[in-house]
């Protein structure tokens, strides 16, 4: 900011004598003499203040098994070192391609990674997050099918389902529900749910109970009814699971938090959206394309902008402007560091450890799996006591055992498989979602099982609500 001396020089050049004159166009009745806030702090004091707040939080460690849409993966130090470079972090949207090739090229690389992972042909530069990407994809599918209704699987993360509901409420698109099979936890692919009004079928892979969905069956049913199918996938599983694009998905969305974004209490990360080339003009958000410059050099630029708000205004495919470029960069770098082998290996570690823990926990008295469908690295257990009580007791033993299902259901009307909308019902109170990643060491799994055994022995006799 300017010194008082500099201010005087500037005022003089402007030809006025006081700062107040600059604000003379503000009606006097509205003008204020400052803010009713504390005075500023020095950097030293600011640091002390903010660090004090950070110190009031508990930092999860290898004994934390929370997932439910946000996963703690190991992020190589190189990701942080690169993403924090000022030239990436302090650039704007790459509107001037000549001085934005860094950003443009890494977005182009991101788009390619997303296509490779999802098995689709085009991907955009990122959206706000997974849930909003899902809502955008639903709108896109409705535009493409010229229909008005959205059919959402009960296997969507309840918060994602809520975002779809909220977005749909604007234009008033009806949202219908597609239940899970109460036995397996897999979304039913019953044509009865697919009226001819349905333009978009939304499903999550793995679903919010951790169960791996049968995308091919759902895609077939959707297509038979003239609808498009949108799959929201955890991209971290795609080293092992088949690419949704190869199973019939028309649009694939998801969140790249699993690649290089710290959990950061849920954000920021980046959503992605991929589809077929035929649908590219309905894609929301930015796209980077390859071209050549005046001297024939290969280069990159924002393209197909006629879909976007700054050109098309009210007719744009979305209002999104700033997206989540830097988080997408983190994902691109993390994927470049993992490579295909690393990605697969990471998935397998998660898979193996999760199944191991699942087996051990289901062997404890009174514990049973909620559903029988195949799962990836997260699973839902029914405990002999309320999950929240169990979790509290486990945390006291240093293990954060998972997310009580009721936490996800707060403020929603999504319920348990087959049970319909029943956030407060007795069973859901007993359900715990347990996620396992490569940061949960084998020793941490053992600690979990040991602590759980002891705690359940105490909690279940008195508090057993099943």
């Amino acid at each position: 900011m300017h010194t008082d001396d500099d201010r005087r020089r500037l005022l003089e050049a402007v030809g006025i004598s006081s700062i107040d004159e600059l604000f003379s166009s503000i009606p006097p009745a509205l003008r204020r003499a400052g803010l009713n806030l504390p005075g500023g702090l020095t950097e030293l004091e600011t640091r002390a203040r903010v660090e004090m707040l950070a110190a009031a939080d508990t930092i999860p460690d290898s004994s934390s098994f929370l997932g439910a849409g946000c996963y703690r993966h190991f992020v190589p130090a190189a990701v942080r070192a690169l993403v924090s470079r000022g030239e990436f972090a302090t650039a704007y949207t790459p509107y001037q391609p000549e001085v934005s090739q860094g950003t443009l090229q890494h977005i182009f690389e991101f788009q390619t990674c997303v296509c490779e992972l999802t098995g689709l042909e085009v991907a955009n530069a990122s959206l706000y997050d997974g849930p909003s990407a899902l809502a955008e994809a639903a709108f896109m599918a409705l535009r493409l099918t010229r229909r008005e209704e959205i059919l959402v699987s009960d296997g969507l993360h309840p918060e994602a389902a809520q975002v779809v509901d909220t977005y749909a409420a604007g234009p008033g698109f009806p949202v219908r529900r597609l239940p899970l099979d109460p036995q397996t936890g897999v979304t039913v692919s019953d044509p009865a749910y697919l009226s001819s009004a349905i333009g978009a079928v939304l499903v999550q892979q793995p679903n919010h109970l951790g169960v791996v969905e049968d995308i091919a069956a759902l895609a077939e049913a959707a297509h038979a009814a003239g609808a498009l199918i949108v799959v929201s996938v955890n991209p971290s599983t795609l080293g092992v699971l088949e690419a949704p694009g190869r199973l019939g998905a028309d649009i694939v969305v998801g969140d790249v938090q699993v690649f290089g974004s710290a959990p950061s209490f849920g954000g920021p990360s980046a959503g992605f959206l991929a589809c077929y080339t035929a649908h590219v003009r309905q894609i929301p958000g930015r796209l980077v394309g390859q071209t050549t410059d005046s001297e024939g050099r290969r280069c990159y630029t924002l393209t197909l902008q006629a879909r976007e708000q700054h050109i098309r205004r009210a007719k744009a495919t979305s209002s999104i402007c700033s997206n989540q470029t830097l988080s997408a960069l983190a994902a691109t770098i993390h994927l470049a560091l993992l490579g295909p082998a690393g990605l697969r290996e990471r998935s397998e570690i998660c898979l193996q450890r999760a199944h191991r823990l699942h087996t051990a926990l289901c062997a404890l008295p009174g514990v049973r799996p909620l559903v029988t469908g195949p799962f990836f690295h997260e699973f839902a257990l029914v405990l002999p006591c309320p999950a929240a009580h169990f979790a509290r007791a486990m945390r006291e033993c240093g293990v954060d055992p998972g997310v009580p299902l009721t936490r996800l259901l707060l403020g929603t009307n999504v319920g348990l498989p087959g049970a319909g909308p029943a956030p407060g019902d007795a069973v859901s109170e007993h359900v715990l979602l347990v996620a396992v990643t490569e940061v949960n060491t084998p020793e941490a799994l053992d600690r979990y099982v040991t602590a759980a055994r002891e705690i359940l022995a105490v909690l279940s006799p008195t508090e057993d609500g099943s």
């Binding site: 900011m1 500099d6 600059l22 503000i26 509205l30 400052g34 803010l35 806030l37 702090l41 020095t42 600011t46 939080d57 930092i59 703690r72 070192a81 690169l82 924090s84 470079r85 990436f88 650039a91 949207t93 000549e98 090739q101 860094g102 090229q105 182009f108 849930p131 977005y167 604007g170 049968d214 091919a216 088949e242 690419a243 710290a262 959990p263 849920g266 954000g267 990159y300 393209t303 006629a306 708000q309 700054h310 205004r313 009210a314 744009a316 979305s318 209002s319 402007c321 700033s322 997206n323 830097l326 960069l329 295909p340 697969r344 199944h355 191991r356 707060l410 490569e438 084998p442 799994l445």
Partner: protein, 488 residues
């Protein structure tokens, strides 16, 4: 001797079998993957991700980074974007494990620090905006707009306004305003600006009706002018039963000087990545908190951060039956919010006000020194930015784009061009308060030289830039035959 400074794609730099990340063994008795998952669900061909070791990845992205202009490398007077400097302490605070490592579903007792930070951020933003309650959930400005408009819609639904299907927006507005209103299912009516570059109050009056759900405005508007009639505008809207939406992208001009709430606004979004110094990241992540009046607070997204009366503990309030629901997973771009909070407490009351003053002063300085060469069609004083028109240079067959491209040769990022749409050959200049007199004067000198060149050697402008890694990418070709991904 020219040399090609472009960098190959990461995919073309790999070598089969190379990788950077080594992972530990599962460490548990392993089962065959096909026993754990049905064979039909298993991947058949692996994704063709890059195959490089860490040194090569680091080198690639370090080199790519050097191909960017950024606030950390040069002046960036991009109008409407508030490319102010992003203090390094902000990033360090966001990286503290006590914030960065937190899982969104940890027990509330374990996350009191971050909840307090978010709560205090809201309180500060409410004081700055003069409103009553806020959400930090939206991920960017346009996301905040959508959130705000959805709240307006829900409000009308509950107050007999279901028939209100129109949002009125001035033609100087940013594209997101119109797109957000449309996304929320509204019809958009654009009203023309007056000669003075302000909302034409008569035009507004003519368009207001019982079909009007809201008036959206930006103040100062995108011409950098304060909408002097704002009180009349908000009264007219309210009298017609409509609500007022305020696009807070230009808040940097008015902190401590005037508050949207006092202007009669019902809902405001802020761009933390503009006004509150969080880095733009090459296009995000930002954050677009929304603050509302009492009227709209029941409609805010779920959950809200609340403070218990009893023990003062911070909680998440989901018990809000009128809420529009959610617009994003979890609680917002928290990492961005930590940065903004750091900035807010560091600046304090005086710092924020002074930032607004210096931002406006610098804009007026540039405007005063450049207007002879680059006429400013609207009367001043401007606020934090101003819009010149390069139409006088059209005589030499030099466009605003040519001027912009030539600026790149001076190591300066050009102003926003061709926006707002109502100014032909627009050059929209926003210096921000973090640029010193030297930076401002270098920009003036560059613009003066360009004006001279336009008269003496216009070809140099039409073929600019001359010093960048690439020059004038063929955008027509790019959109005619889109290549949107690498192929082997």
């Amino acid at each position: 001797m020219t040399i090609d400074r472009t960098e190959p794609l990461v995919f073309d730099k790999g070598l089969p079998g190379h990788r950077a990340v080594d992972l530990p063994a599962a460490g548990v008795p392993e089962m065959d993957v096909s026993e754990l998952l049905p064979g039909t669900l298993l991947r058949t061909t692996p994704p063709r991700l890059p195959e490089l070791a860490e040194p090569q990845v680091v080198r690639h992205y370090t080199r790519l980074s050097q191909l960017n202009h950024s606030v950390d490398t040069g002046f960036y007077p991009l109008g409407s974007c508030t490319m102010k400097y992003n203090p390094k302490i902000n990033d360090e605070m966001a990286a503290l494990p006590g914030f960065a490592e937190l899982h969104p579903y940890q027990a509330l007792s374990e996350v009191q620090g971050i909840l307090r930070l978010m709560y205090e951020t809201e309180q500060i933003l409410l004081e700055i905006t003069g409103l009553r309650r806020a959400t930090l959930q939206p991920a960017a400005g346009a996301h905040g707009e959508l959130t705000g408009v959805l709240m307006i819609k829900a409000y009308h639904r509950d107050h007999g306004g279901a028939g209100r299907d129109t949002v009125i927006i001035p033609d100087s507005a940013h594209g997101t305003n119109l797109a957000s209103a449309a996304m929320a299912g509204y019809r958009v009516v654009e009203i023309p600006s007056s000669q003075r570059g302000l909302i034409d109050v008569e035009a507004l009056r003519r368009n207001l009706s019982d079909r009007t759900a809201a008036v959206m405005m930006t103040n100062p508007n995108t011409l950098g002018l304060f909408e002097e009639d704002v009180l009349q505008i908000s009264s007219l809207a309210h009298e017609a039963g409509a609500l007022c939406y305020y696009d807070g992208a230009n808040l940097n001009a008015i902190m401590g000087k005037v508050r949207p709430g006092d202007m009669g606004m019902d809902v405001v979004h802020l761009n933390l990545h503009k006004t509150f110094s969080t880095p733009h990241g090459g296009g995000g992540p930002g954050a677009g908190p929304v603050a509302v009046s009492e009227t709209l607070s029941p409609y805010l997204p779920l959950p809200l951060i609340a403070r218990s009366d009893g023990d003062g503990a911070f909680t998440l309030d989901y018990d809000r039956p009128l809420s529009i629901g959610r617009v994003k997973g979890f609680y917002g771009n928290v990492g961005v919010i930590v940065r903004a909070y750091t900035y807010l407490v560091r600046m304090g009351a005086d710092g924020l006000t002074r930032a607004a003053e210096d931002a406006v002063l610098s804009a007026n300085y540039l405007r005063a020194r450049l207007r002879d060469l680059y006429p400013v069609p609207h009367e001043g004083p401007c606020m934090h930015e101003f819009v010149s028109s390069a139409t006088t240079h059209l005589a030499q067959d030099v466009t605003a784009r040519d001027i912009a491209k030539r600026l790149l040769d001076f190591g300066i990022h050009p102003p926003t061009i061709y926006f707002p749409l109502i100014v032909p050959e627009a050059l929209m200049v926003e210096p921000t308060e973090t640029e010193d007199l030297r930076a401002l004067d270098s920009f003036i000198e560059a613009m003066q030289q360009i004006d001279r060149e336009a008269r003496e050697d216009p070809e140099i402008l039409r073929t600019a830039p001359h010093t960048t890694v690439v020059g004038r990418p063929d955008e027509v070709e790019a959109s005619r035959h889109p290549i949107l991904r690498w192929r082997a």
